[in-house]
């Protein structure tokens, strides 16, 4: 069985807030849920499936189902960090294909900026690897920086090439009125920003923001009954990449597996893709994932992104035309949701005119949740405008 063509994204909503000191976390989830359901032309009473991850308050889905007043017959709270919303699209499509629900609501929200919460969770000593990493102050930041350092050593990737990912994001963000950072920056600006964790400068790192987003996935019958463009789920893949007892290749992300699975199910290749949303927690994240998804040879990611090649209308592959996590937002320290939202906007022709890809009929959204060097969840979804 395949999910290809068995489900459609009918509704999306991105919360405009980037700092929400006056709202609760549950309230943010509710506002985005209502927004996405309205965008689809449905009502909350139509929702019969609910998907969230650990950013939702309460035990699994229970508190939010109650808060939202939902009547669901299917729930899923698979947690793979920032890639979870992309996993949820795949799982929603599976549930719809097997008749377990027909209108699936996926929410992601967070307010780390207002709450002053770190991306590094408090220690849970039952986590088996933690005693061997905690004394060394292992963090999101150093687990990505060490991949960048090794990538430069093995492949000759340069700080300038890393910076080009940020430069492209800033070119896109200037057109997004909600983006946190709308100023266009240069390679020199990135290199002159303070070094945070070698070789990553401050401008190689994504923003910390409040906010959130939601998606409504529906059956083909319901999708055709609505007045929205038909955005079909064409293929999806998921993977967990870990250290394999200390023998993993830390330069290969889970995207190598999740991407291969998704492209095979979709029956397309990276050359067919018109637009890509690629998780940009850091500049290095984009370079490694573009390689692993097959947009270029392994090790060539730095060259692939240079000289504006990710800028819509200029480069060979428009990436993150909303400004991405590097400039727009990174709600709850999780970037997977916003990756899907901008891919859907591109396929609908609803991106900002300055960044809209002409004839955009096939897009990929890809996320990496966790720690790039050590362990992370990866998820890839390929979407098609019908």
């Amino acid at each position: 069985m395949t999910i290809r063509g068995k489900a459609y994204i009918a509704g999306i909503y991105e919360h405009p807030t980037r700092k929400a000191p006056d709202k609760s976390l549950a309230q943010l989830h509710a506002e985005i849920a209502i927004g996405a359901v309205a965008d689809a032309g449905l009502t909350m009473a139509d929702v019969d499936g609910f998907f969230c991850d650990n950013d939702a308050p309460g035990l699994g889905p229970i508190s939010m189902v109650e808060y939202l007043g939902l009547n669901v017959r299917h729930v899923d709270t698979t947690e793979t960090g920032g890639s979870a919303p992309i996993v949820h699209i795949s799982h929603a499509a599976q549930a719809i294909a097997s008749g377990k629900c027909s209108v699936a609501l996926i929410t992601l929200a967070g307010r780390p900026r207002s709450a002053g919460v770190s991306a590094n969770p408090p220690p849970n000593w039952d986590v088996p690897e933690l005693p061997f990493e905690y004394p060394y102050r292992s963090s999101v930041l150093n687990q990505y920086a060490m991949v960048a350092m090794r990538h430069m050593h093995e492949y000759g990737t340069t700080p300038e090439q890393l910076a080009w990912v940020k430069v492209a994001a800033s070119h896109h963000a200037q057109h997004n009125p909600h983006a946190m950072l709308r100023e266009v920056v240069s390679v020199e600006n990135v290199l002159q920003s303070p070094m945070i964790a070698d070789p990553l400068h401050r401008l190689d790192c994504c923003v910390v923001s409040d906010g959130g987003g939601a998606i409504v996935v529906v059956s083909p019958e319901i999708a055709r009954s609505l007045s929205r463009p038909l955005i079909k789920v064409r293929g999806a893949g998921e993977a967990i990449r870990d250290l394999r007892g200390g023998k993993a290749n830390i330069l290969e992300s889970g995207g190598a597996r999740s991407g291969a699975i998704a492209f095979e199910e979709a029956g397309v290749t990276p050359a067919d893709i018109k637009y890509a949303s690629v998780y940009d927690s850091f500049t290095i994240t984009v370079i490694v994932q573009l390689e692993d998804l097959g947009f270029c040879e392994k090790g060539q990611g730095g060259r692939f992104v240079s000289d504006g090649q990710l800028i819509s209308g200029i480069g060979r592959l428009p990436v993150n035309t909303d400004g991405g996590g590097l400039c727009n937002n990174h709600p709850g320290n999780r970037g997977g949701m916003t990756k899907v939202l901008e891919a859907v906007r591109q396929l609908r022709g609803e991106a900002h005119p300055a960044v809209q890809v002409q004839g955009c009929d096939l897009a990929v959204a890809h996320g990496t949740g966790g720690w790039l060097a050590s362990r992370h969840g990866s998820a890839t979804v390929i979407l098609e405008r019908e």
């Binding site: 004394p135 963090s139 070789p199």
Partner: protein
Amino acid sequence: MEEAVKMPAPKLNAENQEYWDAARRGVLLVKRCADCGEAHHYPRAICPFCHSGSTEWEEVAGTGVIHTYTIMRREQPSTITAYVALDQGPIMLTNIVGCEPETVRIGMPVQVCFADAEDGLRVPVFRPR
């Protein structure tokens, strides 16, 4: 050792207690599987390669090379986070001590030493050799 500030200590459990007892004595252990012969890190009671329950502690010289690293500039003083590739095979997360951050390089030969941590524990770190 070189660290004036004590490192944060992990909370231990039955599966990893022996590793930390050895570290307190200045000894680095890895786990090796008696069935498939593979060494792994972090150490587990169950082999991650063949799932045998016959894994054994093995004392190692603690020599290796820096596989990758970063300098955490916002910490005072800056700490050097690294993966070291042990001569016995697996890579392990650690800190590099006893040298100026700017002198650290990928491929640099290193040797284990032990830094004082909270709760009277000692933690394996590496210095250039």
